[in-house]
Symmetry: C2
Subunit: 234 residues, 2 copies
């Protein structure tokens, strides 16, 4: 039986066995898409394309797009480092954790938008972070109820400011307009409002539009943390 070459049009019909698909790989691919093209570009077809396959193949590993988003959000929570609670420094530790949580979100374009409207996050990393925050608040001497409401308010604030930031740094979704142009435009609009009807808005344009690094976030964060501190025993 001499070996006969197979007809070329039959050989190599599949280049690879493609046995590589997995939850992890899918989430990683989805994160690549979000980082490269933004949340709106994240579709099942687009993720599948990233993996050289079809959209249907994803459903063997992921229930639906919503679950994929949950996995995505939990994945990025993995890179916050949780400090050992130090009762003396609980306020600064809370702030540091909040900064990291926000940083993890804004590091991935407008992914934060997916975090809103997703209910309580139950992923393993989300739970670890929540536990860490509760531990720090508790170390600060706060009551259970204040701790509970506190993490809730902080989580809300972190997510909301992350969304705001991603909108701010992405030209407000409009195309063909740079961020600076858009800001100038808004300033002009605010300035052009009738001063008799909007004395404060027109009078505070500079303060309203001010955007110096993380000042906005830090201001709100301090509001919350120092408010929580007032609930701590003297």
């Amino acid at each position: 039986m001499t070996s006969v070459p197979v007809p070329p049009w039959r050989a190599e019909r599949k280049k690879a066995p493609r046995r590589s698909l997995s939850r992890e790989a899918i989430v990683t691919a989805a994160l690549h898409v979000v980082d490269a093209e933004g949340l709106d570009a994240l579709s099942m077809r687009r993720v599948a394309q990233e993996l050289d396959t079809g959209a249907a193949s994803l459903y063997a590993h992921v229930a639906n797009k919503e679950e994929l988003l949950e996995l995505l959000l939990d994945r990025i929570q993995a890179d916050v480092t949780r400090p050992e609670p130090d009762p003396e420094r609980w306020q600064e530790q809370i702030k540091e954790l909040a900064r990291q949580g926000r940083g993890a979100l804004v590091a991935h374009r407008d992914l934060a938008r997916a975090a809103i409207g997703q209910g309580i996050p139950f992923g393993p990393n989300a739970l670890l972070n929540a536990e860490a925050m509760l531990a720090i608040l508790k170390a600060g001497g706060l009551s259970d109820q204040v701790c509970a409401y506190g993490v809730d308010a902080l989580a809300l604030f972190i997510t909301a400011t992350a969304v705001e930031e991603s909108l701010r740094s992405q030209g407000f979704g409009e195309s063909g307009v740079t961020l600076d142009e858009q800001i100038v435009r808004i300033r002009e609009y605010f300035g052009s409002l009738p001063p008799e009807g909007f004395p404060h808005i027109t009078g505070m344009v500079d303060a309203l539009m001010r955007d110096e690094g993380d000042e906005r976030f830090e201001f709100g964060l301090d509001l919350l943390v120092s408010g929580l501190a007032r609930h701590a025993p003297a």
Copy 2:
């Protein structure tokens, strides 16, 4: 020329001239859809159906769906009543305005979800409400910058808690499961976590899941307002 009745199959080919379409009517119809079926059911086709027409007809009055959502959000802001600033009561007035803003959102199912990720609202009612908030804060003696960051933080908090509330009261988007069942389920899940890994979550289940009216919202609101008060002159 005696008047001859037109053949019945020719008469009334169109029941009405349908000259009724307008921006106002479209926004009203859209609000009906959201109130009746939720934000996910709000499509251009669905709104058009509500007006006995086709989706294409809407585009003569509304640029696109995004603009329709903006109009919708501004419409519901119309029913907050803005108090005359009273420097003696500025904290309570801010809280009252915040409660109304949140109330307007949660009164329309999960419409709040559309408010996130929409940038700064520029509608007339939104501007009036922002102006009113600035006026009250200013009457409280706060600096321009504190006023500006303050309204921002308050607006973020109002929207975020409204979204949270709408999720909470709508069974977390899952179908066929009542709200109470879902809450019980979450409590069980939290309770079943390994206590050595999650001592605080497992120890605070009751505090974490507590849902007594607007306690959560009022707690966070007081955090923010009393934090702002610390920036006021003594």
